[in-house]
């Protein structure tokens, strides 16, 4: 056990799996950084340093830079996975899905079904998401619900360094295509993380707070905001359960429903836009399955239906935060 950042936890999971299995390869834009130039190799190790150190240890046959051609190199991951490798590739920012989505949702995701169950496509697409980085509209979105919609994909959104390592190890060992969402604002957050490899199973929610009055379901970085909100509400006599689904596909709907059946109230916190989101999806699942247990309307805390703004003052206003969650919790309690 040692203190590790979210970045280090992901890096360690990949390195340990590469040592364990020679078929695990890594590629993406600047995942080495410096290929073909006259300067340092492994100059970047990924645009925010998550793959740093892999190239010196594993060499250029297993850790590769790519041209800026997401369709080609993410499609190559699908083709490599279907023929016996276990690629871990990087779609630098999830906002770039628009230039390569066909290879993910029409190719990799559908091989197994279209080919009658005979294809196995064990690939991980790592991708950064999230606002708060002052990165504006095309580098800040939280598009996991788009991927969650697609049958054949698994979608993972780790909410802490411990979660990130265990879920990444599971993602690499998993035999299906996994989209692994890393919140770029969280890379320097630190907590105790085991040094040895471990896995966290997909589709099993974790509870970060246990309470009787209200269930808060929160995704990714929103879990820490939900924890802060729950701690504030506790002081005001409102006892909250905070549930982190960890993966939105598969999703632990059973735990969500059971929790709402106990508390009778639900707040969903989702960094993405409100329409067709994880917030609306969780709300719908609860409305369908635990309607009679509900003591009042479900509350959603999301970003607005707008692109992510640039100006720091606007962006701070754009994101959900603990205060917004507290306000929505009080609305839920008032009904």
């Amino acid at each position: 056990m040692s203190k590790k950042s979210y970045r280090e936890a992901i890096n360690e999971a990949i390195a340990q799996e590469m040592r364990r299995d020679e078929n695990v390869l890594v590629w993406g834009e600047d995942n080495v950084g410096g290929t073909g130039g006259d300067g340092e190799q492994d100059a970047w190790g990924g645009v925010l340093g998550v793959t740093k150190g892999l190239y010196p240890e594993f060499g250029g046959e297993r850790v590769m830079d790519t041209p800026i051609s997401e369709s080609a190199f993410i499609g190559a991951a699908a083709g490599a996975a279907a023929t016996g490798l276990r690629p871990v590739v990087e779609l630098m920012f999830v906002d770039f899905m628009g230039v390569c989505f066909d290879q993910i949702f029409n190719q990799a995701a559908k091989f197994r079904y279209m080919f009658g169950g005979k294809a196995v496509t064990p690939m991980v697409v790592r991708t950064m998401y999230g606002a708060g980085f002052r990165a504006a509209s095309q580098h800040s979105q939280a598009l996991y619900s788009v991927f969650t919609h697609i049958p054949g994909l698994k979608v993972v959104i780790p909410s802490s360094p411990y979660e990130a390592k265990g879920l990444m190890t599971q993602a690499i060992r998993d035999d299906d295509p996994v989209i692994f969402f890393e919140n770029k604002v969280m890379y320097d957050e630190v907590e105790e993380v085991p040094d040895d490899p471990y896995t966290i199973p997909f589709g099993e929610a974790r509870f970060t707070r246990e309470g009787d009055d209200l269930t808060i379901v929160a995704i990714g970085r929103m879990v820490q905001f939900a924890n802060d909100a729950a701690d504030q509400l506790e002081k005001e006599g409102i006892s909250c359960t905070v549930l982190d689904p960890r993966t939105t596909s598969p999703m632990d709907t059973e735990s969500i429903i059971e929790s709402v059946e106990e508390t009778g109230r639900l707040v969903v916190v989702d960094e993405s836009h409100p329409r067709c989101s994880m917030a609306s999806d969780v709300s719908s699942i609860v409305a369908q399955n635990a309607f009679k247990a509900l003591k009042g309307p479900i509350q959603m805390v999301t970003s607005p239906h707008t692109p992510v703004p640039f100006a720091p003052e606007l962006e701070d206003q754009y994101l959900p935060d603990a205060n917004k969650i507290v306000a929505s919790a009080k609305l839920a309690m008032a009904s």
Partner: protein
């Protein structure tokens, strides 16, 4: 590149099987027996047969929406293919893929593809697997003249070059992207495009099995020996429309009849091998009979075969979930 008598006869069998398969699917589709979208490969047989003759199961190909010919040439089971096209439970993909998604990974056939330009990125990955695992395999992406204009294709040319992959890009130019002429829709030439990416290339008459086979032999050998990617521009014609039901009003009157008369790859093959005394008409007639029976039996079985059971609707989405 000299082929043995057995190899020649096998190549003829592949071409005859493709032709009869497609002509029969055309008939059966017209009479309503086959659901969905079907895109036929009749007229293009020499390309699939001439290229895949050089390949074994360790080599991968990615096909297009017009994929039946590539499947047959790469060794997919013809009976199971027909069952698949009929949407039957015993089809090659359990009836879940259909004409546009026939695949058999155990044969290195990575799928027909419903997305134009979908295959080249995938084949870069298959080539990387072969290179990393040192299998000696090569990987071939077939695209049409339509697919040759997709960004995925250009990205793959570049990736294959910079990663130095054992890939061959085969542009099967049948003159039409759906209903639009490749004389209009393709800027520059296919071979100049390859040159632009630093790849060797060759243009070949796709009606002539021997021309295709010779050209393919060279580019495949280069890839196998670590010489990197190449491109083949195969010029050919299709005897049917873009899809079945296409009235082909965009083609000149009499165009297809003339092509069937003058550019029939099976006729050209037969004329060549009999003139050179490589095969006899009797031997090929016997293949014709065998293939006719295989196709007829496959259709009869497919007509009567059961659809997939309803409990298969939600299986095969994930390995685990």
């Amino acid at each position: 590149m000299q082929l043995s008598r057995e190899e020649l006869l096998e190549s003829y069998r592949v071409m005859r099987t493709i032709r009869d398969f497609e002509e029969r699917v055309h008939e059966e589709f017209s009479s309503g027996g086959i659901p969905g979208f079907v895109h036929l490969y009749s007229g293009e047989e020499a390309s699939a047969a001439g290229i895949c003759q050089h390949l074994s199961d360790k080599d991968a190909i990615a096909s297009t929406h017009r994929g039946h010919g590539h499947c047959i040439a790469k060794g997919c089971d013809v009976r199971e293919m027909m069952l698949e096209i009929y949407g039957r439970g015993e089809g090659l993909c359990g009836g879940k893929g259909g004409s546009m998604h026939i695949a058999d990974l155990s044969k290195g056939m990575m799928g027909a593809n419903g997305i134009v330009g979908g295959g080249p990125p995938l084949i870069c990955g298959a080539a990387l697997t072969a290179k990393y695992k040192k299998t000696g395999g090569v990987a071939i992406a077939f695209v049409g003249d339509g697919g040759s204009n997709q960004g995925t294709t250009f990205e793959s040319y570049n990736l294959a070059k910079v990663w130095d992959l054992p890939v061959i890009f085969v542009v099967e130019d049948n003159g039409y992207a759906e209903a639009t002429s490749s004389k209009w829709s393709v800027g520059g030439t296919q071979t100049d495009r390859a040159t632009g990416f630093g790849m060797p290339s060759v243009a070949v008459d796709g009606h002539d099995f021997f021309a295709v086979h010779d050209a393919a032999g060279e580019v495949i050998e280069r890839a196998r020996n670590g010489g990197g990617p190449s491109l083949m521009h195969v010029k050919l014609n299709r005897f049917f429309g873009h899809f079945e039901g296409d009235a082909m009003t965009y083609r000149a009157e009499g165009e297809v009849a003339r092509l069937r008369e003058e550019k029939d790859s099976l006729k050209i093959f037969r004329a060549h091998v009999t003139k050179e005394d490589l095969l006899s008409n009797d031997e090929m007639d016997k293949v014709d009979q065998d293939v006719a029976k295989l196709i007829d039996d496959s259709v009869k079985e497919s007509e009567k075969a059961a659809p997939p059971h309803f409990d298969k609707l939600e299986t095969d989405v994930y390995v685990t979930y």
